[in-house]
Each structure stands twice: as C-alpha cells, then as structure tokens.
Subunit: 344 residues, 2 copies
Amino acid sequence: MPRAGQRPRLVEVAERAGVSLATASRALAGREGVSTEVADRVRLVARELGYVVNPYARTLAGGARSTVGLIVHQVDDPYFSEIAAGVIQLAAEQGLLVQICQSGRDPDYELQQLRHLIAQRVGIILISGSGYDDPRVEAEARAELAAFQDHGGRVAAIGRHALGVDAVLPDNEAGGHALAAHLMDLGHRRIAVAAGSAGLTTVADRLAGVTSALRQRGLRPADLTVVHGDFTRGGGRAATEQILNEHPETTAIVALNDAMAIGVLSTLRSRRVPVPARISVVGFDDVSVAADLAPSLTTIRLPMTEMGRTALTLALKPRSARPRRRATGHLLVVRDSTGPAPTT
Amino acid sequence: MPRAGQRPRLVEVAERAGVSLATASRALAGREGVSTEVADRVRLVARELGYVVNPYARTLAGGARSTVGLIVHQVDDPYFSEIAAGVIQLAAEQGLLVQICQSGRDPDYELQQLRHLIAQRVGIILISGSGYDDPRVEAEARAELAAFQDHGGRVAAIGRHALGVDAVLPDNEAGGHALAAHLMDLGHRRIAVAAGSAGLTTVADRLAGVTSALRQRGLRPADLTVVHGDFTRGGGRAATEQILNEHPETTAIVALNDAMAIGVLSTLRSRRVPVPARISVVGFDDVSVAADLAPSLTTIRLPMTEMGRTALTLALKPRSARPRRRATGHLLVVRDSTGPAPTT
DNA sequence: ACGGGGTACGTAAGCGCTTTCGTAAGCGCT
DNA sequence: AGCGCTTACGAAAGCGCTTACGTACCCCGT
C-alpha cells in the first residue's frame, strides 16, 4: 500500500497490477519473458501511479546506469557549451541525466574529475576537449578508462584521439591547412599564429595544418610567427600585443580557436588597426557569435552540437572490439575579417 | 577480502581497520560516536585502498544525496553558462556532482524536467532563469518543490521569485531604470526596447524599470516603443529590423539582455547605421564577450558566476522557516555603444 | 496418454551502504 | 559495593530494485 507523501515503489505497482515484483520489473524494463498483456497492464498502472524507478536502487541492484558524465575544459566557453547542448539534448530524449564537470584545462585536475566520475559509478563518460601532450597523463587516463570499460562502463571522446576509446574527431589539420591556404590565396606572406597552450594536441594539429599549407606554397616554417597563449579571449589579446610589438610586418593572424580570435579582434580595434585592411584575422570552430562580431569572423565551421550528439550516440551503442572513430565535417566560412594583403 | 578488479567496498575497509561495518561507516561520514583514534585508522585505511563510497548504495540506504540538479533555459547562452560555471566550481569543491538540464524556455518542458529531477532523487535543485507569467505553471512548480522540500530536498532559484524557495535575485527593475536614465542623460528621447518574450517575469521587471525612469523624467510610457522577440541574438536582430522599419526616429535601443544586444549591433552594422553616432545601444547582464564587441557594449553587470555559487550555498544550508533572498549587486558599465543623442 | 521442451511467472538472494538498537565497558556518585 | 549514566562499538535490519533459479503450465510429437 502507498505510503503518505512518498513516491510510489515498484511493489505498489506490482500489487495494483496483480503481479510479482519480478514481473513488474521485467515489464517496465522491457525485458522479455512477460506476456504483452501483462506488460501492458503493468505499464498502465505505473503511469497511473506516476511511478518512476529509483535510479539508486536500480543501479545498486546491477541494472542499467542512467547517468552520463561529461567532462569539458570550460563550460562558459561557447565551443564547449554548444557541444554540451548537443549532449544534453540527446540525453534528455533518451531519459538520461548529464553530470557535468570542468577541468579548466589542467591535466591533473581533469584526471581527478575523471576518477571522481568513475568512483561515482556513472554509466557513460564523455570527454571533450584537447588531449594533452603529457604522456603520463594520457597513459593514466587511458588506463582508468580501460578499467572502467572492462566493468561495463561506456566511454566516448570528442576531439581527443589517443585515449583508446570511441571518438568523434574534427580534422584539425585540414582545417588549419584551409585557413592558411585561404590567407595565402589573398596574398598574405607574413602570417602569425595565436596558438593555445603548447601542451594541447589540438593546438599541435591545427598548427601542423597551417605549416603544411605554407610549405606547400614554398614558404619555410621559419617564416611563420607562432605565439603561444591559452585558448581564451585573454590569450588572444596577449598574443596580439606580442605579435604587434615583435612582428609589425604581420598582415594576417591565425587564431587557433574563435575565443582567441575574439581577443585578437578586440585588441586590434583598441590599437586602431583596421581589419581586414591592414591585418586579416581568422578563427577556428565557428562558435555562434562569430557571425555577429564586427567584423564578422572568417573561420572553420565545426558542427559542435552534432558532435556532442554523435559522441553520446557512440557511447550508447554496445562496445566494439576496436575503438570507433567518427570524422566530422568542417568548412571554411569566409566572412569580413579577411581580405587581400595590403600592398605595402 | 578484495575482489579482483573491483572497487573496494566498505567491508574491505572495515576488515583492514579491524572494526565493524557500522563503525567504518560512521568514521567516514564524520558522524560522532567513534573515538578519534579509530576514526583516524579507518580514514587511513580508506585512503590506502582508494575507497570511495558508492553513492547509489549510500543514497538508497538513506544517507546524504550527493548530486545537485541544475535547470537552465539554455546551456549555450553565456548568461547561463557563466552561472553554471559558478555552480559547478563550488559543487566540485564540495565533492558534489551537477546534473544539468535545459528547458529551452518552454514552461511545460521545464516542469517536466523538474519532475524528472525529483523522480531521480537528486538532493538539491537549482533553477535558473526567468519565471513565467503563466500562473498555472508557477503554481505547479511551487507545489512540486514544496513536496520535494518536505521530503528533505533542498532548492534554490536564481533570478526567479514566486517559487517559494530560497532565491538569489538581481534587481532587474533598478537595472532597467539605470539603463534608461543613462540614455536620457545623454539626451535620448526616442527610445525603443528590444524585449524578450512577453511571458517572462524578467522581461516585465526590466521593462518596468525602463518605464519608471521615463516617467520620472516626464516622458509618458506611450512614448516608448516596445518590441517583443526572444532572449537570443536572433530575437535581437528581428526586433531591430522592426524598430528600424516602424520607428525610424529611434535614437537608442535598450536590449533587455546581452544576447539580444549582440543581435541588435549586428543588424545595425549590416544596415550601416553608425553606433553610437546615430543609434545608441545598451544590453543587460554583461556577459564576458560584451567588452570585446565592436563597439564594446554598455550594459548592466550582473555577477553571474557568483550568483551560481551563492545559490548553491543557500541550498547547502539547512532549510529556514521562510525562504531566504539574496540580492545581487548590479552596476552600469558604460562602454562605447552609447553616446549623445544625435542633434537632428 | 505421456515425456520433453519452451514459456510465463513467482521466490528469494543479494547489490553496498546507513542506522536503529543492543551490549559491554568505563565513569562518578552515594 | 552498587547504582545509573554515558560512550564506543557491533549485529542486523532494511533502502528499492534486478536477476538467477525454481515451478507451474501448455503445446507438441509419438
């Protein structure tokens, strides 16, 4: 019988439907071995009673986990919040809840968050963001994730290879290549890169694309100015100051993500450097505000929301023998922040 | 004895420490009735074994819940992602996990999310965003939350009154007043408002502040043009088109949040309307990108991250007899998007 | 008519923890 | 010495669910 003011339990449902606990459980979990007639009756009663399974009891008893953990570098960075939006959308459709953590781009803290999530016994873990150049961190993360998967956990990564798990991967190198090629087609030869932290694989990959484009067109990598900051607007501002001071001949700045590009544009504006008349600027990611900046930003579009959904989709499928990879499309979006190199 | 490849359980800790399960549990939960000597030994063993309590078992057994649910309108809106960042920060410091949901500003869907969270037995619920004008929805939400609190749940709201729970509240009316006053001090008399959906309490409050400033200075509310859209960049763009077409005499646009203000600026730029020479623009919230826009945005600063932290702090305290309220400061930040009204 | 095999369902044993209750030991008091 | 009181700890009863196993029952072939 129902207890005053408490949520109904499975026993209540079972009694009202005139079946045993086991049958009620099977019926609601959609497991076989229950006649459709009985199953329908149980589901009906459950609906009437407003019954919702207690996830703690279910998980403890060894049933399916209902929560997915999501680790991102920074939630208030549009790149990650758009990915998170995709994950959360799909999770809601599936009746899953999303536990979100941020690592602040600190590899050790991220590892700690990961362990915490595993210790909390979430069912699925999604890791989004760059990998780290530090082989120790990557190896430890790999090991934790492998053990987690061996105990039935499911994992997928977004934008991170080398973790030994399913992953959705943008082609950072091709994107970097396309940006540099676009600038060179406009006549730019003095190009500077506002790069994120040197320890991130994303930075290395995008940078590799840029240098390959230069090499392809006969420039030497030494002709390229690379300034490392971090993947934030502030990082973009600092990088721009340095570029302006140390390499005044620069005619184009490649920011390796849009957040930095916003900082670059902001600093150029306050220094009264016309964009793109004097310096062209490109970003990477196409966060949604990129189109509304002044000037609007030429960048590489990555389908962030879809990437989040795809990652969860991968994690929802049964584990495969070898890690799956999904490449995401990317597209050069030319807007107003790039123009022909100035003819000195 | 430990089982191969499995996380250690409390029994393992208890055995190694030479105490009973009950004592081990008490020691780790910091409950009294355990000598400091024994408690230290248990904690030491737990650390050695890498023991972390199984939250499902703990919750099922009636112990403390360790997860906080956070409902926001939209995760990829900087206003909410900055609030979320604050909540997540503090939660991480407290060893709590954050379950995040988005409502898409749909009152019924939000109610559904709320029920889902309650059914999932999270311990704490934080609701962020505007309330709705619809009395039915608000009443239902109140009722759900009241029942939740009666069963030991904890709740706090951000930017929402009328829910009968602890809340942290920006003074939207004073902010709206300050914006309008600033514009009128600059000589603007033809002011238009790009407002969010008419059904949101935040919109009504900010708008009330604007009209009170006009009235205070001898203008009639009828002199004010109000266009309703939604609280997004797209909403700002649409509102601007309408204002420009139907009220070409307008010299200042008040966007009721920064997202709309970005859309307003973007449209004015593509229509080649100089800001602030021809039209001044103000926003509300001071999301972090506001300072990096071109022109940088005059707006009301709300301490979003701190608001998130404060809300969680409120929810962490024991429930008080009557709902607590924390007012948040706000500050008019004057930047480059506002200037003297053009002298026609 | 009878045994074998499959299907539908019930019984009961946990999952790993918290907490109530009970007990033994130690204390001060008369 | 005997009493009650407090303190430190252990035994065991669940929390609400899933699932291995057991038991009816029915359909089939012979």
